[in-house]
């Protein structure tokens, strides 16, 4: 993991001092709310329905055990004993007091964390594959590049007041687990024929009111040129992105207006003009950062572990968990483990202080002190020896963290919705709870197979409903919560936009509708065909008929 040097420390500490000063000026009345609002937002502090909400960055989803312990401590001391992991690999505290937030930021700074640029019209926390550095299918670890981007984008003098927020994601694996095509900039790390490392650069993806899948503007950008090329993309956007209408201000609209080719041309021209300026880091710096992400030294072990097989034979839930929640590691005899934060009937993405502490301890014990957060709102232990799985699972299961549903129907992404969010039209969490309770049967879930349900409480799409195999969008229909059903989206390498199936439903009706959709799939699927493939083959008609037929 990256470790701060004195300069990184100086920067975040200066930021805490600055914010403490701003909070004091606000409390004394020197600053009005109008003046203070943009300042607090740039430190991740929102006002939600019930209280302030503090969004803390987890850079590219990587956490140390100690950092996780600090999050637990903050949840216990300054909040109400829990935190919420988000679809942007961040963590949110729902009840901090304004007067406490400078202290919270100091607690974070002490463990090399911050809330900088977790809100506002700036470059947000860069996200990446939750299995980075562990996954068997990656070209290289994407995190050194994410760290480079983190540093470059932090307090950027020119790009801190963009037309709108700006999100960058990187993936390095064949399977896109970072939804790069849905980001303002998506980067796919790859190797060219000459064996050099670089990026395919995608721009103009985004969700929200107008979902758009990003377009490739460069097939191969040498890795050494990453920052100067980013700067060129951002300059074109900062100058020409629309500022007259909040809903048309994202880069996706500019890319549509100019056309991807023209956007590429302008970027290329600007990049040629600046690529020799001191923007890209010297090779020594790239190497310095990369060294922090050197793979942990893991013993090569056998992939056949009798204890695992034995327990799997005796215990169906353990077998399901091994199958669904663990995945191939670079080092034989190891796996990465997804700790599901989606207990059936529970709140997706929430973890208590005790659970956070436990995960920290387990990371120390079994995973080299490393933890990841996924955009699917789960936690990951990236480097676990297979032989430790039985003990690990038993401990997790006893703490309510043993759900074996990673990637299955009940591994639902849901935004906070109207239970917390001031922008919401409808609640998201109770819908997730109702669905996971309805499908609370591991055998049935395993039979259904991979199926991603994503729920947003309003058109802002924080719950990624456009990218759900089944998407659910909460709307306000004459003061009542109403839910639209969308089908056929994907956030992976085969990215696609989900389409609305028909009229919306109430809370009860939407759960029934999901069940009907699943029934059509089970009836129609061909051998080994997953839900999305069946939907793509059949189109919406049979689903529509099953859901609305009786009308």
């Amino acid at each position: 993991m990256y470790a701060y040097d004195q300069y990184d420390h100086a920067l975040v500490n200066a930021r805490v001092g600055e914010f403490r000063d701003q909070v004091n000026r606000r409390l004394s009345g020197e600053l009005t709310e109008e003046e203070f609002r943009p300042l607090r937002l740039m430190n991740g502090l929102y006002l939600q329905l019930h209280a302030y909400m503090l969004r803390v960055a987890i850079p590219y989803g990587t956490l140390s055990a100690n950092q996780m312990r600090r999050l637990a401590h903050i949840a216990r001391t300054y909040d109400k004993g829990y935190g919420h992991f988000t679809t942007r690999q961040n963590v949110q505290f729902n009840w901090p007091k304004l007067v406490d937030t400078p202290d919270i930021l100091q607690e974070l700074a002490d463990v090399e964390m911050h809330a900088i640029q977790t809100s506002g019209n700036c470059i947000r926390n860069v996200t990446t594959d939750q299995f980075a550095g562990a996954a068997g299918d990656e070209v290289a670890d994407p995190r050194p590049y994410a760290e480079l981007l983190r540093q470059w984008s932090t307090f950027h003098p020119e790009f801190s007041f963009l037309p709108r927020k700006f999100k960058i994601a990187i993936t390095a694996a064949k399977e896109d687990r970072a939804a790069v095509k849905w980001h303002d900039i998506g980067l796919i790390l790859k190797q060219n024929d000459a064996g050099e490392t670089g990026f395919e650069v995608i721009v103009g993806g985004g969700m929200g009111r107008t979902p758009v899948i990003g377009k490739t503007i460069r097939d191969f950008l040498p890795e050494a040129d990453l920052l100067s090329y980013m700067e060129a993309i951002l300059r074109v956007y900062n100058e020409q992105g629309r500022r007259d209408n909040k809903y048309k201000a994202r880069i996706k609209i500019l890319v549509e207006d100019l056309g991807a080719e023209e956007y590429a041309r302008q970027t290329e021209a600007e990049w040629q003009a600046i690529r020799n300026n001191p923007i890209d880091v010297p090779a020594e710096e790239a190497a310095r950062i990369r060294a922090f992400f050197a793979p942990p030294r893991l013993e090569v072990l056998s992939d056949d572990v009798a204890e695992v097989d034995d327990l799997a034979r005796q215990n169906f839930l353990f077998a399901a968990w091994v199958r669904n929640n663990t995945g191939k590691h670079k080092v034989p005899g190891h796996v990465h483990v997804t700790i599901s934060l989606k207990p059936h009937g529970g709140i997706p993405g929430d973890a208590t202080d005790a659970q956070m502490d436990l995960v920290a301890d387990l990371a120390d014990q079994y995973s080299q002190g490393e933890i990841r957060v996924s955009h699917a709102q789960n936690l990951i232990l990236p480097h676990v020896a297979k032989r430790d799985l039985p003990a690990l699972w038993k401990t997790l299961d006893a703490a309510g963290l043993g759900a074996a549903n990673q990637g299955l129907l009940t591994d639902i992404i849901a935004c906070p919705g109207l239970d917390y969010c001031a922008l919401a039209n409808a609640r998201s969490i109770p819908i997730a709870q109702a669905i996971t309770s309805r499908f609370d049967d591991m055998k049935r879930l395993m039979d259904i197979g991979p199926l991603k349900i994503k729920i947003s409480g309003c058109i802002n799409a924080c719950g990624h409903h456009h990218a759900g195999h089944i998407g659910i969008l909460g709307v306000d229909r004459r003061g009542e919560e109403n839910y639209q059903l969308l089908l056929g989206g994907s956030g992976a390498e085969d990215a696609s936009k989900a389409a609305i199936l028909g009229p919306g439903f109430g809370e009860e009706g939407i759960v029934d509708a999901v069940e009907k959709v699943v029934a059509v799939y089970l009836g129609e699927r061909e051998d080994g065909e997953e839900f999305l493939a069946t939907y793509r083959r059949l189109g919406p008609a049979p689903f529509k008929e099953a859901v609305y037929g009786a009308r």
């Binding site: 606000r26 409390l27 004394s28 009345g29 709310e33 006002l47 329905l49 019930h50 209280a51 302030y52 109400k80 729902n94 009840w95 901090p96 007091k97 304004l98 007067v99 709140i347 109207l418 239970d419 917390y420 919401a424 609640r427 969490i429 109770p430 709870q433 003061g479 009542e480 919560e481």
Partner: protein, 108 residues
Amino acid sequence: MAKKLSGPQMVIANRLDDGRVVFLDRAGGWSVTPANAAVADDEDAIEALANVAAASVAANKVLSVEVIEATTDENGAPWPAHIKFAMQAKGPSVRADLGYQVALNWEN
């Protein structure tokens, strides 16, 4: 939400220092209990409430002030009519252990 309001109205806000949801009460102060909320029926009275609230914003006591439609709860006490504000009055529906709904550990 520039929708025109009608009927009895009350004022909801968040306290500046801790963000907690409060209601403008009948003494012109801010109460965490919706039952204490001042409810106004006619235009002049509503405007008077809005003015008190605005003064409170200017004095940096509260923020996010909204005049909202009021109804009554099962005991006949004031209660926000719209679901969003009712949610604020109660606390998250998915955490019955938190918020006003348990009249709670959040030292007032």
